[in-house]
Amino acid sequence: MVETADLVVVGGGIVGCSVVHQLARLLPNTTRIVLVDRGPIAGATSGSSMGHLMVTPDDAAAYALTIASVRLWRDLQQRRGGFHYQATGALYLADTDADVAMLPVLRDQFVARGDSAELLDARQLRDLEPGLAPDLQAATFYPGDAVVLPMLACGVMLREAQAACPGLVVRPDCAVLGFDRDGDRLAAVRTAQGTIATRTVVNATGVWAPDLAELLGQPRLPIFPRAGNLAITGHHGTPVRTQLLEVSYLRFAHGAAAVDPTRTDDRGGHAVNVQPQSNGSCLIGSTRQFRGMDRTLNRELLHRSLLRAQRYAPGLAAAPIVRTWVGLRPYAIDKQPLIGPWPPVPGLWIAAGHEGLGITLGPITGRLLAQQIAGVPCDVDPTPYLPARFCA
């Protein structure tokens, strides 16, 4: 007997889990949803990421999307918890004249959005974080950012979804091998654990989303893996309590990439992001480099980012590093996530391509996609994120 499902979500990262989480709350509790992932739940990009919930003020649409998602995260924390949510805020630092000049600009951007941020002088900075390098003269503090453990958050979302929708099946270690079509429409998903008859499929496979599109006979989606090297200290390795970011992070991470993502000779770059965790560990990032699916550590980039982190938080020099690793961010060519239907294949939906904002935007992505699937009004205008912009 062939298994049937109303909906199959492919990809058990934060986006796939959030899609399921939101669908389970919007659709009738009799809906049969199957979530499949070829590896563990949260085993790829989500399990390798920093878990920064980041509100970006520099662009009105981006602000609206990130603030909406961060509010959903706060709701989940208040309702369930269990994913080490920490309201660390973000302390934006700078050490060049040009970047120091950006600090008040950043504060003004938050204020212009009706939000609040504070410009700190040297004394206020020292009071907030005595462990910072003594030469730092100013910083911008934004209280709205937070930190979560994404892999635990995936579990929290799925468990809440299972409670709301008993027909939800979560199937790790179950790779998608192909699809059956009925004319244009989807008819079934063939997986390593059997065929699932369904007319609705969500592609939430991040850096593998182009591969899944290809399996469906579609052109490859313009999403490219962008590698990041990370290190984490042992439990007594955090010299700061606030999350640190270089102010240059915003243009480094979210501005236009200086290189062509299809090339593999990108030498890469970095901007400091130091993140204290609730157990006393400290995550140190972040680097960015296009080099295909290669997940081997780039020692040189890692060293450069550790040096820079140490420049702001000198206490990190004595902190023991427990582990280093590489994660792959799904970089969409126009730097906007893909959230919505894929018109050439009726029944196929896409939620992918969030680069370094996948954890921040996970909840709102799941919500916007679920609202589109359920045919109800969206919280935020989804037009800029519709994948149809990439249809020939």
Partner: protein
């Protein structure tokens, strides 16, 4: 901190235990330059522990006869021109290169051959109360008495499985500790099968007789088919619940009784320390009776990676006799490769014979799957991250049953021990598959935690 600290040697040896000492003494005797890296403060490894100078020594005869070999070996090792780097933590390697941290400084050892002889560590089985201060591994008690001359307590419980329980008990009684109970989880029936491995070997026969006399003299009876069910106390261990287990190690709760103790040593065999080998890319295989994943070596103790050799527990737990014989083979292989000296065939035969004898003995103490029923849902399984068995089970049920999936789902194994303590039992406990081999651990940089400064100051190699 930034000046380059680079050493050059013909051979770099990791571990100054029996295997590493035999190999390095022979290589140095033949004129090769040898640098030995060890985390301890003195040579000898875990088995031939040396006390700090001037520390109280136990009376003559307090050590088993086999340890006399340690004295000979330590003397030979000290005579040779071997450079021993004490307190050295090796955190990265590739063929011909070993990076280590010593006294806060970052070093690189460049060498033509690497010998991996890092030994093994205690296999832990979680039980309620095993995180209480005063509850330690069996190995920890031996280190305390034989490595530092410290008296562990007044009333001790020793529980676990395997040949290392006996030296733990005799170390304690030799230090004047009352051993309230000595519990071997394996059944006497299984032990009988091991007698072939003991009685067929003259050295092991004398050793067994020595332990029997010592236990009798101290009035300690080793109880077969018993183990520790739980430890209790206010801020430190004060009581232990002990009882019988069935042949598979399942606790028989109706036999439980409480004893008053102030120190507990628990050790359920050993786990080979293979992480550095995995970092080097060496092939490994799972052999339950040898402690789990072991490096694969050929008859000349060569690993699957050129110029990397291995000896002793890293190739599978076997004890000091095996380690010394394999260390000898390693020396022969390297002298052959670098000096063209034909290796003596007898060395290989002796090592193989010691392995066979050890395998027969250890077969009696293969891990018992039922011991995983000692833990309750509230028992901590990952000590570093405070993860309970229930959390690990929930993770396995949702995220997947691979070791990595369980880790992702509850953070077990993500702390500073890098899953060395919880790893060997995590999958069995969380995924309910006690009879299947655990996944091969994934080794990431650094192989041991070292400071940011050490990583940044690492000489390029």
């Amino acid at each position: 901190m930034t000046d380059a600290r680079v050493l050059d040697a013909d051979v770099g040896v990791v571990g100054a235990g029996p295997a590493g000492m035999v190999a390095s003494a022979r290589l140095a005797a033949a004129g090769l330059s040898v640098v030995v890296l060890d985390e301890g403060q003195r040579a000898g490894g875990q088995i031939f522990r040396q006390l700090p100078g001037g520390a109280p020594h136990p009376a003559r005869g307090a050590e088993p006869p086999s340890h006399a070999r340690g004295d000979t070996l330590l003397a030979a090792f000290a005579d040779r021109d071997v450079t021993l780097r004490r307190g050295a933590t090796v955190w990265d390697a590739r063929p011909g290169r070993l990076w280590f941290e010593q006294d806060g400084a970052s070093w690189l050892l460049r060498c033509r051959r690497i010998v991996l002889a890092p030994g093994a560590y205690d296999r832990c089985v979680p039980f309620p109360g095993w995180t209480l201060p005063g509850v330690v591994t069996a190995g920890a008690l031996q280190v305390m008495v034989r490595g530092f001359g410290v008296v562990p307590g007044q009333r001790a419980l020793v529980a676990g499985s395997g040949p290392l329980l006996l030296p733990t008990v005799t170390a304690l009684t030799g230090a004047g500790v009352e051993v309230v109970a000595a519990l071997e989880a394996s059944s006497r029936w299984r032990a009988l099968r091991a007698l072939g491995g003991v009685l067929g070997n003259g050295g092991r026969r004398r050793e067994a007789a020595w332990y029997a006399r010592r236990l009798l003299g101290a009035g300690v009876r080793l109880r077969w088919g018993w183990t520790v069910f739980a430890c209790e106390g206010d801020g430190r261990v004060q009581r232990a619940v002990i009882g019988k287990v069935d042949r598979d190690g399942r606790p028989r709760r109706d036999t439980a009784r409480t004893i008053e103790v102030d120190v507990v040593g628990a050790g359920f065999g050993l786990v080979p320390s293979i992480e550095l080998g995995l970092r080097l890319g060496c092939a490994a295989r799972f052999v339950a009776a040898r402690g789990g994943h072991c490096l694969v070596v050929d008859g000349a103790q060569r690993t699957s990676v050129p110029e990397v050799l291995a000896a002793g527990e890293i190739c599978g737990v076997g004890g000091a006799e095996v380690a010394m014989a394999e260390g000898d083979v390693v020396a022969g292989t390297i002298l052959h490769e670098l000096r063209g000296i034909a290796p003596p065939a007898a060395a290989g035969r002796r090592a193989a014979a010691e392995r066979r004898a050890a395998d027969r003995l250890l077969a009696a103490f293969a891990p018992l799957p039922g011991l995983h029923e000692l833990a309750t849902p509230a028992t901590i399984v990952c000590r570093c991250e405070d993860v309970t068995l229930q959390q690990a089970r929930d993770a396995a049920a949702l995220h997947g049953t691979s070791a990595r999936a369980i880790k992702l789902g509850c953070r077990a194994g993500m702390g500073p021990c890098q899953a060395r303590i919880c790893g060997p039992s995590l999958q069995a406990l969380a995924a309910g598959r006690p009879d299947q081999p655990m996944d091969l651990p994934v080794v990431q940089l650094p192989v041991r935690p070292v400071t940011t400064a050490t990583i940044l100051a690492a000489p390029a190699g």
